[in-house]
């Protein structure tokens, strides 16, 4: 399907062209009107299709929070895990079943605050997965508390006098830890975001995309930034595209210009590549690579090495 088809014929069709990729029996979703998450899902679905990766090979893992619900709306094999642990869960999935293209879609609080340790280690390992971090500058689902992304000076329910902690610069953080694809776009940059997700899906290694997303209900209202439309207008006027900008310079300050673009793209051995190479180097012919998951069709109870002697179940 090409992007033009995805647009559909507005106003003339009974169904949305992406319905097949969404759990329509779960609609309406819980996200607020003009939230950026709908755009993220649209971009994700379009990118997944354009990537031509077989649909069954893509699995989606989410943590907790507004963005954490993404896994539940996407009609893929999808996992809604505990707060902060989407990345290690995804790591287990990927290592156990290396064929899978594991995508983590989660929020800034989930991935960078409670899950920060997992983020830096997944990046360090260059674990082959795509991470879409939807940054709305606060903890939205619990009512607009401060996050490690809240800009200094912005107000949040747990920062009623204005946030004063230094926020993380996500691209710089993951870049410095070893991520091999890093990009940032806003929810207004639909085409760029779709291309970035497609590139990330086709990238071999740890790919990280920060999506700056409007949160009109708690962040926008509390900071008197207007409606969702006003927030998008701000992105329109204040986004500066700088591909391959130094991630060091990508800090986000309250209501100032946001540098967007593709910042990093490089080839490095992934976790599994590095493991295989090291084992081969050390063990030589004695190295028996992991054979992949158990196979329901073969009723395997052990790895294939001795599967011809599998006892019958009780």
């Amino acid at each position: 399907m090409n992007p033009n088809q995805l647009l559909g014929k507005r106003g003339t069709t009974d169904s949305h062209p992406m319905e097949g990729f969404l759990r329509m029996d779960r609609m309406p979703h819980i996200w607020c009107s003009t939230c950026g998450l709908g755009t993220c899902l649209t971009a994700f679905i379009a990118a997944a299709q354009e990537s031509a990766i077989p649909r069954e090979d893509i699995v989606v893992v989410s943590g907790i929070g507004c963005t954490g619900r993404a896994a539940g709306y996407l009609k893929y094999d999808s996992f809604h895990t505990t707060h902060g642990r989407a990345l290690p869960y995804a790591t287990g999935l990927k290592v156990a079943s290396p064929r899978l293209k594991v995508c983590v879609i989660s929020g800034d609080g989930d991935l960078v605050s409670i899950g920060g340790n997992h983020l830096i280690h997944a990046a360090r390992r260059n674990m082959d997965m795509t991470v879409i971090c939807v940054n709305n500058f606060n903890y939205a689902m619990t009512g607009g508390q401060a996050a490690p992304s809240t800009p200094q000076g912005a107000s949040a329910t747990t920062a009623p006098y204005g946030a004063f902690e230094r926020p993380f610069n996500f691209p710089f953080l993951v870049d410095s830890c070893g991520a091999t694809y890093v990009a940032r776009w806003t929810a207004l940059h639909v085409r760029q975001l779709t291309i970035a997700i497609k590139e990330a899906l086709l990238h071999r290694g740890f790919s990280f995309i920060e999506v700056i997303s409007p949160c009109p209900t708690v962040y926008g209202r509390r900071n008197r930034l207007g409606s969702g439309l006003d927030l998008m207008k701000f992105y329109h006027d204040h986004s500066i595209t700088k591909n391959f900008a130094s991630t060091r310079e990508c800090d986000i300050k309250f209501q100032q210009d946001i540098i967007v673009g593709k910042f990093v793209q490089r080839d490095e051995p992934t976790f599994l590549d590095a493991m295989d190479a090291q084992m081969k180097k050390t063990l030589g012919a004695k190295f028996v690579p992991y054979v992949g998951p158990m196979d329901p069709a073969r009723d395997m109870t052990e790895s294939s090495h001795d599967s011809d002697r599998v006892p019958k179940p009780k």
Binding site: R23, D25, R26, R55, E56, D57, V59, A71, G72, K75, Y76, D77, S78, F79, H80, T81, T82, R85, L87, P88, Y89, A90, T91, G92, L93, K94, V95, A96, S97, R99, L100, N117, H118, H121, M275, L283, K286, F287, V288, Y290, V291, G292, P293, M294, D295, P296, A297, D299, M300, T301, E302, S303, S304, H305, D306, R309, V310, P311, P313, K314
Partner: protein, 386 residues
């Protein structure tokens, strides 16, 4: 010592400590994925698997912490691997939230806890049995869990296989509650031929993909499982969910969801219960013990019998669910039940509750750091016989 056969299962007689025997048990059970974080006194299990797996087609990953380890294990299990993690008390504390996710999403896996003395950092290198209640109730919410407790390296091997089998059969994380003494005790371990080791397959769903309901129970209350990536488009969530796996947040769905999680264990107690009994018929006193304490109790029981006391012995292997029915039966026949454990009374409370006042219940507590003096257990037996 026989020469080990080729292949993953290390058939033959070996001189192994409990931790290494547990690792070999995992291999024999078909475990090919382990995620862990080093912590004394459990590390040898992970170390042995890190060494063994690349030679037999398994993957070991040392995660950044225990929260990551158990999360990776759950992910791996849904990826189709038989998976395990290994830890000790402080690490186990970090794992309990995701053990709850494992229960809620009915994810088969094994969590090995080689217990040391606590609370907090406590006694890293010395023994304890102080996580027994944490194994049962550590995670939030209402659930049933399975936990086994080995008393010897041989059992570390045998029961690790059983732990995997039960986790697959009931689709629940199984706690493997070792203690430092059993983990570091070195004894002869006989590993049978691979084809004589009973390994239960995962309960795979093989019907039409679009008809799959991830949480529709079979007759025994346990649903069938699929692998991620096989295009069933399954949704797995820790939220209260219906048979489709969709989150539905209301009291009715919670009732159906949680009662089945509880009932699939409670309705199969006879199948799950493993205890070893010795001379309990006609006994005045029965000693109830598990893990290393059961080994120490043996000495006290022998001494008591020499003094003419009729002492029976009930060794708990399945510790959760607690063998309540059997304890209640015995309590109606004996003068007293005696339980030594290396804590200030955890399983003892369960035993006392099960005895329901029918007989005396005597605790022989120990704060941890070493095993009981058998004489303390003997004293309790003598008191119980009066």
């Amino acid at each position: 010592m026989s020469k080990p056969k080729r292949g993953p299962v290390l058939t033959g007689a070996h001189y192994l400590d409990g931790d290494h025997a547990c690792a070999e048990g995992a291999i024999a059970a078909g475990c090919r994925f382990i995620a862990g974080y080093p912590i004394t006194p459990s590390t040898e299990v992970a170390e042995r698997l890190a060494e063994r797996f690349p030679r037999i087609g398994g993957t070991f990953i040392q995660m950044e912490d225990e929260l990551a380890s158990i999360a990776a294990v759950l992910g791996a299990a849904w990826g189709g691997a038989r998976a395990m993690t290994v830890t000790s008390g402080p690490g186990f504390s970090l794992m309990v939230e995701n053990i709850g996710l494992g229960v809620m999403t009915e994810t088969p896996c094994v969590v090995v806890n080689v217990q040391r003395g606590g609370p907090s950092t406590g006694l890293p290198t010395l023994t304890g049995q102080q996580d027994m209640m944490q194994a049962r109730w550590g995670s939030h919410g209402d659930y049933e869990i399975i936990a086994l407790s080995p008393s010897s390296p041989q059992e570390c091997f045998d029961l690790t296989v059983t732990a995997f089998n039960l986790s697959e059969k009931y689709r629940v994380p199984v706690m493997f509650m070792m203690d430092e003494c059993v983990g570091h005790m070195t004894e002869k371990v006989v590993i049978p031929e691979a084809d004589t080791i009973e390994v239960w397959p995962r309960r795979w769903y093989r019907g039409p993909k679009d008809k799959y309901l991830p949480y529709a129970p079979e007759k025994d209350g346990v649903p069938l499982m699929i692998r991620a990536g096989d295009d069933h488009r399954v949704h797995v969530t820790g939220l209260t969910h219906d048979q489709r796996g969709y989150p539905i947040i209301n009291a009715d769905t919670q009732r159906v969801c949680v009662s089945r999680l509880v009932d699939k264990i409670r309705n199969n107690l006879d199948d799950l219960m493993i205890v070893k009994e010795e001379q309990v018929e006609g006994a005045d006193v029965v000693v109830v013990a598990y893990g290393i304490s059961a080994r120490v109790a043996t000495k006290a029981i022998t001494d008591a019998r020499k003094q003419g006391i009729r002492v029976g012995f009930l060794r708990l292997i399945t510790v959760w669910p607690f063998p309540e029915k059997r304890i209640r039966e015995l309590a109606g026949k004996v003068k007293s039940l005696v339980m030594p454990e290396i804590n200030m009374g955890q399983m003892f409370r369960e035993m006392e509750r099960a005895a329901n006042g029918q007989c005396k219940s005597l605790l022989v507590p120990h704060c941890g750091g070493w095993v009981h003096d058998p004489n303390d257990i003997l004293k309790a037996i003598l008191e119980g016989a009066r």
